[in-house]
Symmetry: C2
Subunit: 162 residues, 2 copies
């Protein structure tokens, strides 16, 4: 019975109504982040990095000796997923994984010289990408955006915060 | 040679420095969205929905006769991933997939009565979740946040917009 209505629409996406979802801040966050991520992926492609390998590399460079478990927590990732990602960085000789003498199950992560250099270049490219992507947003708006996002992230936007 | 420094840190995440990443708005967006998504997952669990099945169901309810290809575009998803998701909704008899008579390769999506009812309940729960999560944020700040996010999403924050 609904076939007639269905057949009258053609195959383009901008006819899809997302009015209900637009009522949610979370949906706006997801949509905006998708746009940032698409641009970021293009920016990182020349370095053969993706958002997650880039994030891991930056954190390892900034925190020499970081444990895998700490990195998993910092990236909100399950450890098995992180291991796949670290395998990739290690295979490219961008990082090393060393057993921690005092804890046989723990691995300490360090960036190699090549990893540190690639990281520096990638951070530079991502800085330029964001500058371009947010050029129309003034400093006050940018600061307000970050402040609100931090409030949400830390749970301080909640009614009953602990 | 770096083992000594590594061994001096213990296994908790808040010691990890993310100063470099905090310089990027995209990182703040991702972190805040992770917090929203974690809360959303808990909210949707009683309905046996996840963020993506919920999003798909809402869009199907709001757009009767929606094509799979339109939904994939609207959700920024690859079609094979979407198919897995629709299989799940169909197996639970929340949606139907009907061949489009005028286009043999196309499927039109409709919510069943059960799907429409579950959707309504889930939207109510998600509304309450967001209200709780953002209770500390006033209406002006909320509106400003959405406006900035939309600017980023639509590319109007860019230097050279088309």
């Amino acid at each position: 019975m609904k076939h007639a209505a269905a057949a009258s629409t053609s195959g383009t996406a901008h006819q899809v109504s997302d009015t209900t979802l637009r009522g949610f801040v979370g949906y706006h966050m997801k949509r905006a982040f998708n746009a940032v991520q698409a641009d970021l992926s293009r920016t990182l492609a020349p370095f053969e990095l993706r958002m997650l390998t880039y994030t891991a590399l930056v954190l390892i460079v900034d925190n020499p000796g970081l444990r895998q478990s700490q990195l998993a927590d910092a990236m909100d990732m399950e450890r098995p997923n992180l291991v796949v990602l670290l395998d990739e960085l290690e295979a490219r000789a961008l990082i090393t994984r060393d057993r921690v003498p005092t804890d046989r199950r723990a691995y300490a992560l360090h960036a190699t010289l090549a990893g540190t250099q690639l990281c520096k270049q990638a951070v530079g490219a991502v800085t330029a990408h964001e500058k371009r992507l947010l050029a129309g947003i003034d400093d006050d708006t940018r600061a307000a955006l970050i402040a609100t996002l931090r409030q949400i992230e830390t749970g301080h936007a909640k009614e009953e915060s602990a």
